[in-house]
Symmetry: C2
Subunit: 149 residues, 2 copies
DNA sequence: AGGAAAATGAAATTCATTTTCAATTAGTTC
DNA sequence: GAACTAATTGAAAATGAATTTCATTTTCCT
């Protein structure tokens, strides 16, 4: 198994123990699959993936485990224009933004320090104390953009 | 009545006529209230406002009229972190972004050409053809930010 | 006024998300 | 390792915003 993945699973186990929660076979399987996959998945999608090999694991548990991963800091929830809640593994504090293709639905991450600074500057102009932000660019990716233009 | 508002109501009437739709008392009242108010309202909120003075107008009609206003270009739909669909009057093509207070829920609009340019530049780096974007800064407004810090 | 097409509003439906609850399981403690 | 307590599981039900249905009413044309 992936070094990264087992490390994070360990982190989860620590988090559970600390809070008096329990490590279970299901949580292990779900976290493993989620971390390995590493995409922006909905609970539904992850459930479908997992139930291929583990028909006994229910949707509810997948859903709850994703929530748990979010609380433990191993994942974040995101909602894009399609209004579905997606989960994404969180390495550390790499805050990044997204490019979303309107045709194929692909989600590309990016990070830009200038953007961050500019955001902070704008917020300050308004006396705002920024905690977090959301920035999504919707359009057509390299593969999907029209041949013309 | 506000010059601006009646002008826009006229725009709506023209839009309806062009498409073979009908101007109705309800649509007039709903559009009027919405345009006058000018906030980021949910269908529910607008419905409550209107039903104070017009108990006979149903939620469904308010909802449908807001959709109609969006289609006619007089409003846009927006979804913030609370996952409710809000409607906002649209003057022309002023694309702006939002500062949202996590405590009081106030929504402040802003516009920044540098931001727009930066977005375009980033998108291009990834071969992306940007159509639209979404940018929200969440934090605490001047009134709500902690005294310390 | 008459008639066709659209609009209305209450109620029903949808659909993702969240909660409930009885049965099961994990992780102590003796 | 057995017993116990609290957490977990999974199926089913509940929730809640958004949307659709449908019988009735209204608009707008002639």
């Amino acid at each position: 198994m992936d070094r990264q993945v087992s490390e994070k699973k360990e982190q989860l186990r620590a988090f559970l123990k600390e809070r008096g929660f329990k490590s279970t076979r299901q949580r292990d399987i779900i976290a493993g699959q989620f971390l390995r996959c590493g995409e922006h998945l909905t609970a539904e999608e992850l459930y479908k993936q997992i139930s291929r090999t583990h028909r006994e694991i229910g949707f509810t548990t997948v859903y709850r485990t994703l929530k748990l991963l979010s609380k433990s800091g191993l994942a974040t929830e995101r909602v894009f224009a399609d209004n579905l809640t997606r989960y994404e593994p969180l390495s550390s504090e790499d805050h990044h933004d997204h490019l979303i293709c309107l045709r194929c639905g692909s989600i590309t991450e990016f990070e830009n320090p200038k953007m961050e600074k500019l955001q902070k500057r704008i917020a300050e102009e308004f006396g705002f104390n920024t905690v977090t932000h959301k920035m999504e660019l919707y359009g057509y990716c390299r593969m999907c953009r029209k041949p013309d233009k």
